[in-house]
Symmetry: D4
Subunit: 221 residues, 8 copies
């Protein structure tokens, strides 16, 4: 039949992690249908970048769900929101305006049962805020670093800390910084060694990249 | 005194990996001076993106060095070129035109004493070339995937394999693909989960990112 | 008289296919006037990318019409919506977010009395969804392939299937993918042989290009 | 073994047309190796966008080859250059500066054993040059239309002729037109129905797209 | 005193034509203040690109004014809207979506006491609509040609008619055509001789440019 | 604890000027929390680019505050709005549409206890408006020059006056000028000697740059 | 026959001015062939943007020709280079780096038998150079104004003089100004009334636009 | 007379600093003529961005001159190259590749009789190199900060030091960083307070901006 959807339920077996649903451009009816398919299979589900008006409808359908308005993340099963154990991943951000992206990474990791810790507002215009934390940041296995405007925080972090670093540009700023392209390019052009980058506002992708690394470490230990 | 350079010899102690020298925009005299400083300290050194005419001069100065013309990589100590042991990292590429970037990643890993393997010419216009290799690619700890033109190879790889994946756009192509920006954006916009990206033509950065991951695994095991 | 419009009623005689009306930037009064002119001549008419609030007004004026909200397509004569016969054209898409463009192509082909079939949600991040369908896709005379985000689906299709392929980039995605330019450029830069491309979101143009091909085949048979 | 190439010799069986070699970014040694592999299998080969200095070397290696300097097309077997039969495809261009792209399409079609005809210098600043030819152009099965600068020729052709039309933007022009992006965008944004577009300077891709259509017609007749 | 405005009432003496007020980014209070200053001096005034909600307020303040909603033009003195005499300027457009810009040019010329004529919907996808009018268009002293999408109309006009031609790109279209930049670049890159261009959507500027030419002719006659 | 903010209260000691709060992308609750932290420390505070709906809420919380709707500047302590003494800085603008940026610079200087003077509407299309003021402008220690559209005012000022000049592009204009990028680039490319530039719409940054200069002068005198 | 060229010899009858040959992308053999065709018909000819190495060859073929190295203009008949009579058009430029474009306009006007005068190096960073000439510039019927870098000269001229003004951006400058796009956009966004613009470096087009105006005036007088 | 140049010898009287000559796009003959005019008036002169082959010719003409090959700066009077006194301005750079721009600023300041000091290679990937120098950098009246690649150095400097800071993006880098636009945008979008920016590679402009500040301080003391 034409016009149906083809969910990739097989992905966990193939790759070790489940499909996640992009919520911004799907109508609420389509989202409800997809989530029902997950529920019937008793699978957990995560929708990203869902608008508040859709969440209002879906919360009624799925009362056990959790919706984070800042990021638009929607967990079908609210009990996944706080994984136990020591935080494995540090999620750093340059300013409080980056919280939506920080939270998307946080809830994606939670959905994957990985504990993480959020450390906001340590941009390099006040570099001491980062310098004071260098030692304590060494406890994380990998770092996700979110920044809008000029996006220079990952470069400074990369020069001070040896872990895998996943930089996430945020669409925060105005003038030349509008849309997050300056932060993206700054991160790609960084002089610091071995920083990697994901799409603008892609907190979800950063969390997935961190998860690929954690799987490797846990498999290797 | 003004006008001297400030080499970051301390980086290895701080981060666990040494500084690498960007060769494209430095005059040959400056490069010779920097390499002499490394030699005096009996430190290994790697210069990237060095033009052939500079290499000709420096080979005479440093007869034990190795120069790879395709990538412009210059190893002060040629004996570093072939690290022993099983390859840890797979370096995949879409076409033979990507060899310069593949080689930059290869020689950077060699400089860091990491063995890697190069698998060229498996772009998705002939997808069977990738499908036939999926099982054998699972032996690598991480994958570096290089592609120019439309840059779709990392997306296909990311949908088939669970390891950390570092995508490198190559400045190969013409028309809209000139300069590598299409490949870069394709990789950033990829629907595959958790792919990370480095700057166009940055084989060196991809190798460094892989090294950060390997250090974590080895430290964790 | 100044300020009137000049409809190209002669186009069918000249080219073999009628003019179609672009609805997004015309006020509802102008659209009503144009549709009245068609009705008086007992000609069928198709309006594309019409906003819902305009459709509400026009539905009252023209009760026999059909409006597809996803795509904004408006058929003056609803009986045209389901042409009979075997589907000639396959309309493939990478994700459910591409449905608006898929539907625009579908209703344009219907308006031209061509049956087509929609196959959604087979993007290359889960390549098996495409591989499983290769044989069954060979029955179509031509393929329209819609994709947003990184837009890599047409490249994979072009490497597996020999028919004429018309790629349509969709303005689905965020960050670098916003607006559909990445998908457009990926399709233009594709390494697969002989893929052609139309404007972002131009499901209508893709249908017209397919129709030019079908006319040739039917004329030649 | 690392660093070898993986030629897609299987493509003809799979798709009905052979792989073509992109010559611009491969060193002459690599090209010679690839062509030797074709010769050993007694397969024909086409290299596109090859620079004159490489052609000089390869002509010596392969004396039966043909090199067209304007386009950079290199046919391993010169006897393929003039296919017999009535021309099936018309290749139109706006100005004499478009000849390199016209010729790339011409030699690619020849390589595929399809006769075509070149009609240059009929841009719309002197529209009568096109109008005078409308009737005679109806004899072609499909039209490839090449234009640089403002790239408006395909729009005029598309409003006058009913065949499949493949527009090719040429990187001819200066100021805003430099690089061919204006011509590309003009073609994509065209108000004429059902025009399709390939990458800037991609005469090869246009020929391949025409070939996909011809195969369909011949199979259907 | 700080924060006041400095109107250029002297412009008519200096240049022979008055200042016109840009309405889009000024608050309605500021516009009312400026228009009061004109009224007190018994000078006519034209505001361009004024939003409807501002016009509603100002119509109450200035009951003798005229507001054209399509273009946002606001004439302080409605009696200026229809100048007498034969039309001197032809304002051509490619489609009915261009009416807002056509009208801005029309009302600006009216404000300058120049009669003009609007001829819409003669884009080159149906070239006969233009060809049929070539002779009758020769009666105008200069032509303003408005087009969105691919913007090719001025090139065709410039190849057929000898008058001064002022091309105006319109921000009509979607995909690559969004914002009018394609039309702008097409006009700048035009192969037709001696076409000049103004900013996207700048019907006002085109009218002013035409007026400079008319002043020269009238002074010269 | 995760998810808190890290205010840089130390900045005044370190640099001699306090942190300023960017209001556009922070929710009103976060802003209220930050302002409470300042109030508790009896520190003054400035928020920039705050939307009117947020200001309405915060005015109730902080009745002694001042909100300038044009610029979005919010002073926690309204008594700071009019510093005493002769104006040290001249803030020039090309048109009345630039007032939002002019006011942001004005209130930032006020917050820093620096008197300034605003001189609007002296763009170079009526160059006499600037020429008449050259002598009187020499009394300022530095000039902030705001312009949208083509942004040419700073070039003319820089050719006539010897003081430090800080140019601020404004996002005022349409077509190519939309977003302020043309004004920005004009200022950067200026042929006038020694003009410096800040981000589009960054009246705050211009004021801060002027303040750095004033501190130097006052320290030096 | 395929592959020939179609010269538009009819253009003079149709439009009143001859075709001009774009020399940059045509091989010298093609140019020689085209010029021979003109010579045989005893028609004058102008080639623009011809490279010096081509000119050397063609000077030998056509000894009565004139080549201006700065602009690349090539007149088949050198006697056309200095038309008699009072200069009708003033060609102004901002700096001596603009001479190539100034000369292209000058020689095109000469080819059309129109006398013009060149006034270089009066950019607005030293505005008095323009102010001192305002009265004497009033004697020209129209003004061509060339500027690179920030391109602000036409705005200042347009605010001081009432004639038709054709602005030509020059590809002179570095950084953001490289390629002439800043100058182009400045001219398009100009606040001065009724300035028109041609493509970057298009001195030829500016001359043609001036010629269209002169024909109108002469016909009208 | 047409085609001469109009030097702005009056600028020193008007502004307090002389005109400087842009050398990149002027032919060597024009430069020699301009320098002769300065010599005859016994005025000093500075040419910027002069190519080595021009310098070779001019050194013979003007044996007392000095040419710095790295920056292309040419001082008519070599004795100006080392001004006496304590350095007033610090010129910082991120890497040794920035030396050309550093030197252009240095020689421009020297030409203006201002001593400065160059401190290279202190980019933020090794932040300690900057932190170690914070105290000693406080002795400069203003700082010029040059950086290519991601351009983050000025942000870090601006967060640590209170002086006027003029940031100069350098066209050093590859991939997204090519041409210096990333560094430019990073500097404009900087979160550090009151940083100002000049055009890419504009070491000269940065020096002039510093000089405007010094004149103010010296006049004020």
């Amino acid at each position: 039949m034409s016009d149906s959807f083809n969910l990739d339920f097989d992905r966990t077996r193939r790759l070790g992690f489940p499909e996640v649903i992009y919520g911004a451009s799907k109508p609420v009816d389509a989202l409800a249908g997809i989530l029902d398919a997950y529920r019937q299979r008793q699978l957990p589900a995560l929708v990203t970048k869902m608008q508040p008006e859709k969440a209002k409808v879906l919360k009624r359908h799925f009362p056990d769900s959790l919706y984070d308005e800042a990021s638009g993340a929607f967990l079908l099963d609210a009990s996944q929101a706080k994984p136990s154990g020591e935080p494995q991943i540090g999620i750093l951000s340059a300013g409080t305006s980056d919280v939506p992206i920080v939270n998307e990474a946080y809830y994606t990791l939670s959905f994957l049962n990985v504990a993480s810790e959020r450390i906001n507002d340590i941009g390099i215009a006040g570099i001491h805020r980062l310098l004071d934390r260098v030692e304590s940041l060494k406890r994380f296995r990998a770092l996700i670093v979110v920044a809008g405007f000029e996006g220079a925080l990952p470069t400074a972090v990369g020069g001070l800390l040896p872990q895998p670093i996943i930089a996430v540009p945020a669409s925060v700023g105005y003038g030349v910084a509008a849309g997050g392209h300056v932060a993206l390019n700054t991160m790609l052009a960084s002089c610091a060694n071995g920083i990697t980058v994901v799409n603008i506002d892609n907190g979800y992708g950063a969390a997935m990249a961190a998860y690929r690394i954690l799987r490797l470490v846990d498999g290797a230990s």
